[in-house]
Symmetry: C2
Subunit: 210 residues, 2 copies
DNA sequence: TAGATTGTTAATCGATTAACAATC
DNA sequence: TAGATTGTTAATCGATTAACAATC
């Protein structure tokens, strides 16, 4: 396997799951081969970009032929670490947390939510799907004993930094934050914000002024 | 007001709500003036970038002094169209939809969810906060009579394209999609995808391989 | 005034796209 | 073989950052 190149750009990494999803659809349709041209058409991306993105991880295609769907899927899973189990800790058992925990295991059997936490005494012990809500106080221990590697913050903005700090303390190095707050993290931690307030407000810019 | 410059880049637009949020916090703290330097420190952004972003809409600061917090807030709201009422149609009354509709009205009293739709007969008529779940069949009429301008898709992937088409038919030109699906839209429609599956999968790339 | 900080131009950096030799 | 399509280099485009004159 090619060494993890620290020079792979974030833009490339963010397109990989899009390729993976498309490839999975193709496999479901029984398609065996696909060209960058066809993928580009379907995903509204430049074929050269797709080839370049993929080529930064190895030579997955055949000149004159294209990419073999099942092979490419396997490779993409490898690159994204989706070929092994990844445990996710989800903090916040409100509607958002429940919605996320229902999300069909992220369409990849290998990534699962292995812990659901909240600070509301009323919620502790409640069953949400196959999960039982635990107290955030137990987050650190749980992350270590259950070897969870990704944290999802789905709590109110006011509580987000505290949860973030707890995750960092628990050695979690990859965090997805849904709270509308700018979180402070130490170097070495990957934080991604999915802030729906921000998205909506920036979209409002494009409304016709009338 | 400066004319809507079609050359304002998406990257700039996406930072505006981040500035707005920070400015609101400052106002809440009673801060009256702020420099690009200070904002940059707090938001982890380059001060030159902040100045340049803001300057593309006018001269909001004073040389040697900085930006007046309340004036900048007012200007940012204007630019983002957040100084007037914006009606949002939310489709999907599952946990995600409920979470979104609870979201404190997007921290801007002027943007509100004015319609909540679903296709599940069981849900039609149910009360979610101050909203009553309506049938998607009524989406088009509702968007027009209630003059809703933004659509949020919070339905399963399989239903997303249908809802998207209905929104477009209802003259909605700005759409925020939460379903993990690549939607087809006609030119002139602004679509933003917030795909949490994709986010998580790309984050998995950064896990240490062990 | 002197120090500070904007608005803006120029320089740099990074990402996308075009083009094409290699080759299946 | 001839046509197709990759992998990759070079060209272009766009976004970020540095630098500084203008000025509060």
């Amino acid at each position: 396997m090619p060494t993890r190149d620290p020079k792979i750009s974030p833009s490339v990494v963010r397109r990989l799951p899009i390729y993976l999803r498309h490839i999975q659809v193709l496999r479901g349709q029984g398609v065996e081969r696909v060209s960058s041209q066809e993928m580009g058409n379907n995903l509204d991306l430049n074929p050269a970009q797709i080839r370049k993105d993929l080529a930064s991880f190895g030579e997955f295609g055949k000149k004159g032929v294209g990419y073999e769907v099942s092979y490419l899927e396997r490779k993409l899973r490898q690159i994204l670490n989706l070929d092994r189990h990844i445990g996710v800790a989800l903090i916040g058992a409100g509607h958002l947390g429940i919605a996320l925990s229902n999300y069909a295991r992220f369409q990849s059997e290998r990534m699962t939510i292995d812990g659901l936490f909240d600070s509301d005494p009323q919620k502790i012990g409640a069953k949400i799907g196959h999960l039982t809500v635990e107290h955030v106080h137990d987050l650190e221990t749980a992350c270590q004993t259950r070897r969870m590697q990704i944290g999802i913050i789905a709590v109110p903005a006011i509580a987000a930094q505290g949860v973030c700090d707890a995750l960092v303390k628990a050695q979690i190095r990859v965090i997805l934050n849904f709270a509308p707050a700018s979180l402070r993290i130490p170097r070495g931690v990957h934080l991604r914000n999915t802030d729906f307030t921000t998205e909506l407000q920036s979209l409002a810019f494009y409304l016709a002024d009338d």
